[in-house]
Symmetry: C2
Subunit: 230 residues, 2 copies
């Protein structure tokens, strides 16, 4: 048996592996604490430095097809800026994976989408994945990866955007919607909105429902952390 | 921007999160260094303690349908032993995910298969996944998850089992087969045999081929590490 040891930094020392991870927020805010909250979580959890930026002029984030399309060129532009500033990996911190392929084509560093990372991690954990988000349907990028393992999707009652999640009623509704997915047979839950990360609902859901809950920001961080080692 | 910090242990303290991870080796050996090599790697990389055991009477591991079937009840039995001894998570350290569903049904702790974990991580990293293993075809558990993103599979010339990999010729042949997958369009490689972990070929492939290479043991470790945090 081995005993616990601290997380070891890899010995390889290329830019990709030591440079900060760029975190693209798809919710516009002038509050640095809000813009940095995912990056701060990733640093606390995985130990790598981050630099966070938000796209302009979308205070309500991405919550429907129109806001998704509007955000895409802004994400590519922000990724180019971050790459030019020397980040080693980019995380698009949105579970809908907006502009993931376009961003990968535009920059020379690895790009991780929170949606596909979450779908990936959920597939590693379970067989029947329930998707909890801010729309009735799972994001297409997530649904495509889950395939036949997508057991169902749900939206918390009364929630139509990430701001609605940041109320006591929003958090309660998220727990209730998650419970319905488990009742319908989900053995693993996937949080398909990074606004659910910001309200810290994962541990509450795991404790209440007894199933693994995949947080999209943490999933993206795991994939980014893997890319930083070899 | 945040700065680098050491990996933080989660504050939650349930058995699942502090108990060692049980590592099931599907290759029988009386050499503790060989039996422990994946567990040691996981502890070095992710910081959690491990306890490793191998199934009996399979010195050549799992390399065809017959050896896969023979191994399955042994894996379930070993998982029950490890769970009874108090491990918090079990990793089946084989890219074919032998007995994954049966083991999940048999024990009350999370069970991670190296194959599905590797497929999951590869899906988080790329679009066209090339699978390098010891059989011509990708393991069914891996192929099922990759779906249309499976770009092709290859076996190193002259390699028919994990022992063949542990020779200079075996390692050379693995690099050559991986290069062919990239030539045929793979943007990400998945090592579909944990014997490839044991020979440490990942960093060599990444340096030579310039694409991310998913190691199944490290992928399983990432998924197990996620389960240990909340």
């Amino acid at each position: 048996m081995t005993t616990a040891r601290p997380f070891q930094a890899p010995s390889a020392d290329t830019g990709e592996r030591t440079a900060p991870v760029g975190v693209i927020r798809v919710l516009t805010s002038g509050d640095p604490a809000l813009v940095n909250d995912h990056g701060r979580l990733l640093t606390e959890r995985y130990g790598f430095p981050t630099v966070s930026r938000c796209i302009p002029d979308q205070p309500d984030g991405i919550h429907d097809d129109a806001t998704h399309r509007t955000a895409e060129p802004k994400i590519v532009a922000l990724a180019r800026e971050l790459a030019a500033e020397g980040v080693g990996t980019i995380v698009i911190s949105c579970a809908a994976d907006p502009a993931l392929d376009e961003t990968r084509a535009a920059v020379g560093v690895p790009v991780v989408g929170a949606g596909s990372a979450a779908a990936a991690l959920a597939l590693g954990l379970g067989r029947r994945i329930g998707v909890l988000g801010i729309r009735e349907e799972a994001p297409p990028a997530v649904a495509a990866l889950l395939g036949t393992r997508l057991a169902g999707s749900a939206r918390p009652e009364g929630v139509r955007g990430t701001r609605d999640l940041r109320t006591p009623e929003g958090a309660e509704a998220a727990v209730a919607a998650a419970a319905r997915l488990v009742e319908r047979g989900a053995d693993t839950l996937l949080l398909a909105c990074t606004g659910l990360t910001s309200i810290g609902v994962r541990s509450r859901l795991e404790a209440a429902l007894g199933v693994p809950v995949v947080d999209p920001v943490l999933a993206a961080g795991l994939v980014a952390a893997y890319r930083r080692t070899a």
